[in-house]
Amino acid sequence: MESRYKPGDKIRILQRNQPGHVRTPIYVRGKTGVIERIVGSFPNPETLAYGHSGLPYKMLYRVNFRQGELWPDYEGSPDDTLEIEIYEHWMAPA
């Protein structure tokens, strides 16, 4: 399965208004980060959760965000980051 993004790519998390089981927490939606690695393809948890097959598989990535980007009033070090797993259909190039 082809991956659209590669490590180092800058991407933005989409603001999808999607009910039901999603694994993209609200705190990263609309934020810009960098692809840390390609994890691989997995069954889609959004449909798997409701007893469907989870097909077609979705590509999963780890994305690195600066904490200052996620939280406007972040109080730690400006170098602090957060890494999280995001599916490809939740991203667009930044």
Binding site: R23, T24, P25, Y27, V39, G40, F42, P45, L60, R62, Q67, L70, W71, Y74, E75, G76, S77, D79, D80, T81, L82, E83, I84, E85, I86, Y87
Partner: protein, 223 residues
């Protein structure tokens, strides 16, 4: 997924009985519907002979009996064997197979503490945790205050665990929200170059592999 069962030992018993000095916050009570659903499915599976009550009891016992020793062995092996460490960081499936662990369909992601980076793990969505290695997560890991605050104010949370990270070191939080499960590979303390694996294993704690503290200091060990 085996990761999301509700049949934990502290289920419903961790309200206000935490005496370890960590901040206490009452969570919302577990959903009654979810509890009824879990009980019903479990009883049906037993009634239909798909699993036995003893199968379930044994699976919980196996998970509960995993303390930190397996994780500690993996950490110490990485400290003492550079080829294994490389495998652990890049092909964790193969590295775990050497310890007889198969986590599929989940995959282990090992994040390494360095001079520059201190890593910390949380699952904001639920309580994803490397159970095949570390067993059942501590009650505080599953509570909403940890799960909400670890991503938002990690340094404050770390301080409440007695861990102070200097500003010169980056704090990197990992939200374990999908198919990976995480273990922090703590830094090997200085002054342990001559230590045996057995001695080194005594330094590695569960909390250092979650990332809320570092390994035991040398003078914490007796004998």
């Amino acid at each position: 997924m085996s990761d999301h069962h509700h049949h934990d030992h502290d289920h419903g018993h961790d309200h206000g009985h935490d005496h370890d000095g960590k901040p206490i916050q009452e969570d919302a009570l577990p959903s009654i519907e979810a509890q009824i659903l879990e009980t019903s499915v479990r009883e049906l599976l037993i009634e239909k002979g798909i699993v036995s009550a003893d199968d379930i009891r044994r699976a919980i016992e196996a998970m509960d009996s995993r303390g930190e020793s397996l994780g500690a062995k993996i950490v110490v092996r990485a400290w003492t064997d550079p080829a294994f460490k490389e495998k652990l960081l890049t092909r964790s499936d193969d590295a775990l197979m050497e310890f007889g662990i198969d986590m599929r369909p989940m995959e282990l992601c090992v994040v390494e503490n360095t001079e520059d980076v201190h890593n910390m793990v949380v699952c904001t969505l639920c309580s994803c945790y490397p159970r095949p290695i570390l067993g059942i997560p501590p009650a505080w890991y599953k509570r909403r205050d940890y799960r909400a605050r670890a991503v938002r104010e990690p340094r404050a949370v770390l301080q409440e665990f007695g861990t102070v990270i200097p500003d010169s070191q980056q704090v990197r939080v990992h939200d374990s929200n999908a198919d990976l499960r995480y273990i922090v590979l703590p830094k090997r303390p200085a002054g342990t170059e001559d230590w045996t694996s057995e001695q080194l294993e005594k330094l590695v704690t569960r909390d250092s592999m979650i990332g809320v503290s570092d390994v035991r200091s040398l003078d914490e060990l007796v004998g």
